[in-house]
């Protein structure tokens, strides 16, 4: 019922190239580099599969939607590349376990690597991907999706590895428990697996997904590519498209990175130039960029998006690729209102990441920043 071609957007190789750039931007420093996923999506296209996206409003209320994504360490997926059909095995096993047929695939996380996996799996299954996602950016843990925050119970879920192992998490007493058990399982599967969660109804997805994620990510990527072609400023193009702003421009002066419970945490110190002379910025990191401070004062905090971009190319720099001396722009984009409710902030606000002393103050699209570079 969902395969009416007039309702579907079919992605081209050029769209995939743009999605690679756009999803890296929305990765807010984490989420992994989407390059490998881009190649896989391109291979799927070249093998004759169709990468199709369905608008949220065209999704029937009673549609059964399976959300999926990669889980594990991004670096591992650059070395032990996937077998390729892990996601499909997840969907099939879930269907068998629950006795249903999936109508569409949903995306957990549009930021970084996980933008590509739903497209690839959906193309192999002959299903469309919903134009939305559960984060509108990247977050480190599974319970941090709007799906989980607004009441979806993600078990029973299925996790698959390249070997053919299929693990069903039949029931978790909370989303946090699901995350914890999945994390333990992914290690024994080699550190990079694919996980599909219990199906959601079309009605739920329409109400609680961050809308238009693929449209937005592809448009962001296109804006960067077009700005480069015109020799215009790609960073300005990003801000214009997402009602964001350049908070800071400067050079990385110091990087502190350490491990805390399996996560990279740390801080990037940026010394200002251009409009930010004599100012120092700090970006606090827990896999993603979470808090932006100017001269010690918090200006932007999670869940609003904080993105560190190479000042010349407009390429997003992931936290693992930050290096001393890089010339960067820090860009802030407002997050979707679904991430700003009290129940969402409980999970994905500063307190959700242990910043108990930081109160979330939503950035305004048109709010001028003192000492702003623009």
């Amino acid at each position: 019922m969902l395969s009416r071609p007039d309702k579907l957007w079919t992605l081209t190789e050029a769209d995939i190239e743009a999605l690679e750039i756009g999803s890296a931007i929305l990765g807010t420093g984490g989420g992994g580099n989407p390059y490998i996923g881009k190649l896989r999506a391109r291979q799927a296209l070249r093998a004759g599969h169709t990468l199709s996206v369905i608008k949220m409003e065209d999704l029937p209320d009673d549609a059964k939607v399976v959300s999926l994504g990669g889980i594990g360490a991004p670096l591992i997926s650059f070395e032990r590349i996937k077998e390729g059909r892990e996601g499909l095995r997840c969907v099939r096993a879930l269907e068998e376990r629950l006795g249903f047929k999936a109508d569409a695939i949903a995306c957990e996380e549009i930021g970084g690597q996980n933008a590509m996996e739903p497209l690839i799996t959906a193309s192999l299954a002959g299903l469309p991907v919903v134009d939305g996602d559960g984060m509108g950016r990247a977050f480190p843990e599974m319970q941090m999706t709007t799906y989980s925050i607004y009441g979806h119970r993600s078990t029973p879920s299925v996790m698959c590895d390249p070997h053919g192992n299929v693990v069903i998490f039949d029931h978790a007493i909370s989303e946090k428990w699901h995350e914890r058990m999945a994390r333990a399982c992914v290690i024994s599967q080699g550190g990079a697996s694919t996980l599909a969660s219990a199906p959601m109804s079309g009605a739920f997805v329409k109400q609680f997904s961050i809308p238009d994620s693929y449209t937005k990510a592809v448009a962001l990527g296109r804006a960067v590519i077009e700005a480069r072609q015109r020799h215009a400023d790609p960073i300005a193009a990003i801000c214009e498209m997402e009602s964001g702003r350049v908070c800071f421009t400067g050079k990385i002066k110091d990087l502190k990175r350490h491990l805390k419970g399996g996560f990279v945490t740390g801080e990037a110190i940026i010394e200002g130039f251009d409009g930010c002379n004599d100012q120092t910025a700090a970006v606090l990191i827990q896999n993603e960029n979470l808090v932006f401070k100017r001269d010690g004062v918090v200006e932007i905090a999670v869940p609003d998006l904080i993105i560190i971009l190479d000042i010349d190319t407009g390429n997003a720099i992931t936290t693992e690729m930050l290096r001393y001396g890089q010339r960067v722009a820090v860009v802030a984009l407002p997050c979707h209102p679904l991430l700003r409710t009290p129940e969402a902030l409980e999970v994905v606000g500063p307190k959700g990441f242990g910043f108990d002393d930081i109160a979330y103050r939503p950035m305004q699209a048109d709010e001028p920043t003192q000492g702003s570079a623009t």
Binding site: G30, I36, L39, R40, Q43, G72, A73, P74, L75, I76, F78, E79, R80, I81, K82, E83, G84, R85, P140, P162, H163, G164, R183, A184, V186, I187, G190, G191, K251, R257, H258, L259, G261, G262, F263, V264, E271, F273, N287, D312, N315, E320, M321, R323, Y324, G325, Q326, R327
Partner: protein, 522 residues
């Protein structure tokens, strides 16, 4: 002790003779199609200019862009059996999947996927499928392929399966040349595998080229050992280059930056290498070029070599100078290039070039000054302003701190450089035009370790770093470094996200002076 440095570039072959830290003579010759005759000419000229007995030359160091250019131009590439050990993982992206079609075809487009490889923690993904290796060996024999590459998943952590697969191949194909990815690259399967395949495809060319270098040296009466510089500014011996030609990629900019550091004694600064068509700008940190953080594209292929972070702009001695309809003066990016000595005004040609402007402003004294009398002062000033702005912007991009770092101008076109750039002082060392050959002459020996460690069972970050450092030092000494001069130049640990058990990726690199009693004073 005397040493001779040669840089074989796309346009020029430069050579210098050095005695300890002193440059005795430097010359430029045109690079020739066969490479050999250009090298011969440069060698003869520099030896006679230096007036040194050739028997006293202890070492010859060569920098060359020959192998990079072969890939870029798709010339002299041999077909390769590209074998990957990793199934059932990695099946979705076969070898060379992201290569440009023409290069993939030049390299034979023969990818083989085999069961094997390792997980991040050293477990086997699957045992090596030896029978499949035998079938590939039959195919190699049938197709008369002479080189193969083997890349196993996580071979930087454990290379045993690559070794086993090679031994099994050699049983059926004893004459096959085999390149192992663990010998070449770091974590990142596609990039490391691509480097191994490229390396294998260049083996025949590297054998010919190294023999040509050896022949040129011999016929010049130089019987000393010779070395070739790699992309990090350190040396490989001839046997090593025959096996690993890809390691010379990007050695050109590295040599000119290292040469600039040496000629000025400056360890932290910005190097501006101005040629005929382009200017390369890069930063020196502790006497070595700052490395690019991102993957580097060579001939359209992503690799993860450590390469200098060099920024190029279209400005050189041959850049065309023009006034637009709005009166604005532009310089470059079009250039007369190697035709500079025929086409520039001062050399009797009809084209106004950046070099003519430098002469018109009295900043350089070359060619026939009378020929630029007609260049109006306003145009010359406009061009000067444009060139300075271009150089300033490029230098600003490479600046790594607000401290007033010195700027070192090298290369044949460095007459275009003003004496100051904004708040930065510009240095123009002696022998600036042959800084790249100097960089080759002073190159050092390195050892490197890049691996994921699991910080468990009493292993700490410090003990792992120490272990990596010792292993890197052993590698450097094994390659010919003098143990007393070894120092650590890169020491980095990046914790891996999402993995408990505290997995961390450690990268250590050490360098030392070439052994054999020829150590440079510190």
């Amino acid at each position: 002790m005397y040493r001779l440095g040669i840089d074989v570039g796309g346009t020029n072959t430069d050579a210098v003779v050095m005695h300890d830290r002193e440059v005795l003579a430097g010359v430029k010759a045109a690079t020739t199609e066969d490479v050999t005759s250009g090298v011969l000419e440069a060698l003869e000229n520099v030896l006679s200019k230096a007036g040194v007995d050739r028997a006293k030359i202890a070492n010859v160091m060569i920098g060359t862009t020959h192998f990079t250019n072969a890939v870029i131009e798709r010339k002299h590439i041999s077909p390769v059996a590209a074998i990957r050990l990793g199934l059932p993982a990695t099946a979705c992206l076969p070898p060379m999947v992201d290569w440009p079609q023409d290069l993939r075809e030049a390299a034979g487009d023969l990818g083989y996927l085999v069961r094997g490889g390792y997980e991040f923690d050293g477990r086997e993904i699957a045992p090596l499928d030896g029978e499949e290796i035998d079938r590939i060996a039959d195919d190699i024999l049938a197709k008369k392929i002479s080189t193969a590459s083997i890349s196993s998943v996580f071979s930087p952590i454990n290379r045993q399966m690559e070794l086993d697969a090679r031994d099994r191949l050699l049983k059926k194909c004893p004459d096959l040349q085999v390149v192992l990815s663990s010998d070449i690259g770091r974590i990142g399967l596609l990039e490391r595998e691509s480097a191994a395949i490229m390396n294998a495809s260049l083996l025949a060319l590297s054998a010919r080229t190294v023999d040509a270098f050896a022949g040129a040296l011999k016929s010049t009466g130089l019987h000393c050992p010779f070395f070739i510089t790699q992309n990090d500014g350190t040396l490989m011996d001839a046997a090593m280059v025959k096996r690993f030609p890809v390691l010379t990629f990007a050695s050109g900019p590295t040599n000119s930056m290292r040469g600039a550091a040496f000629l000025t004694g400056i360890k932290n600064g910005i190097v501006v290498d101005i040629g005929g068509t382009t200017t390369d700008v890069g930063a020196l940190q502790l006497g070595f070029p700052r490395q690019a953080a991102t993957v580097v594209d060579i001939g359209g292929v992503r690799t993860n070599f450590r390469m200098p972070d060099v920024f190029s702009i279209g400005l050189g001695g041959g850049s065309l100078v023009r006034r637009g309809p709005d009166g604005a003066v532009t310089v470059g990016p079009q250039s007369v290039g190697y035709r500079l000595t025929r086409e520039a005004l001062v050399f009797g040609g009809d084209t106004l070039t950046a070099t003519d402007i430098a002469v018109a402003l009295g900043e350089a004294d070359i060619g026939d000054k009378s020929r630029i009398a007609s260049v109006d002062a306003d145009l010359a000033q406009g061009a000067r302003v444009a060139m300075t702005a271009m150089l300033e912007a490029a230098v600003e991009r490479s600046r790594i701190s607000p401290e007033p770092l010195p700027v070192i101008a090298v290369g044949g076109g460095s007459i275009l450089m003003p004496n100051r750039l904004g708040d930065l002082e510009v240095l123009r060392p002696d022998h600036f035009a042959v800084a790249n050959a100097v960089g080759a002459a002073i190159a050092q020996i390195s050892g490197e370790v890049d691996r994921i460690y699991s910080l468990e069972n009493g292993l700490t970050r410090e003990s792992c770093l120490k272990q990596a450092e010792e292993e890197a030092t052993e590698k450097a000494i094994g390659a010919g470094a003098d143990a007393a001069t070894i120092e650590v130049i890169e020491r980095e640990d990046v914790p891996l996200a999402y993995l408990p058990g505290n997995a961390t990726r450690i990268h250590v690199k050490v360098v030392g002076e070439m052994g054999g009693g020829d150590a440079l004073p510190a």
